[in-house]
Symmetry: C2
């Protein structure tokens, strides 16, 4: 799994839209808001299943109705296709 | 729900043992390690159920097999009995 080139990363970010790029960590991140903790944790459960299926896991945090997800690929030393694919699958949950 | 006094907090922390105190945030925190993501998320699901039942929710994060939990009571402006109770219930899960 190779790290994305700058051109690949920029194309991917444009197509993702809602994710922002963190150049310090070569990672992408997105925040999600829900009605309450129950709804936030239901979303987290769906993301956990996507992540386990993909064999690629987020760095993420939750405070009540808010979930923050950060994706990067440590084995690649930065952002890879695995992150972009997982981001698309998370977005496809339709929150 | 009142914020704990210093004496109450110190007594509670002694009895909890595995939690550390963050004076900046008037919060307690503990890290947990598991075999893999699946085991870590199983634990998170149990904590989510405890939290929802208690009506008191953690600030927490997960990276693969590690879970970090921070407890404080925003309505009380710091650590309260709700945090100590939830910490005890989490410890009682027996990770």
């Amino acid at each position: 799994m190779d790290k994305l080139t700058t051109a690949q990363r920029e194309a991917a970010l444009t197509s993702l839209g809602d994710w922002s790029y963190d150049p310090e960590e070569d990672a992408i991140e997105r925040g999600f808001g829900f009605k309450d903790f129950s709804a936030a944790f239901a979303f987290m459960t769906r993301v956990a299943l996507l992540a386990e299926k993909a064999g690629h896991h987020p760095e993420w945090s939750n405070v009540y109705n808010k979930v923050s997800i950060r994706l990067t690929t440590h084995d690649a030393g930065g952002l890879s296709d695995k992150d972009i694919d997982l981001a698309r699958r998370i977005d496809a949950l339709g929150t």
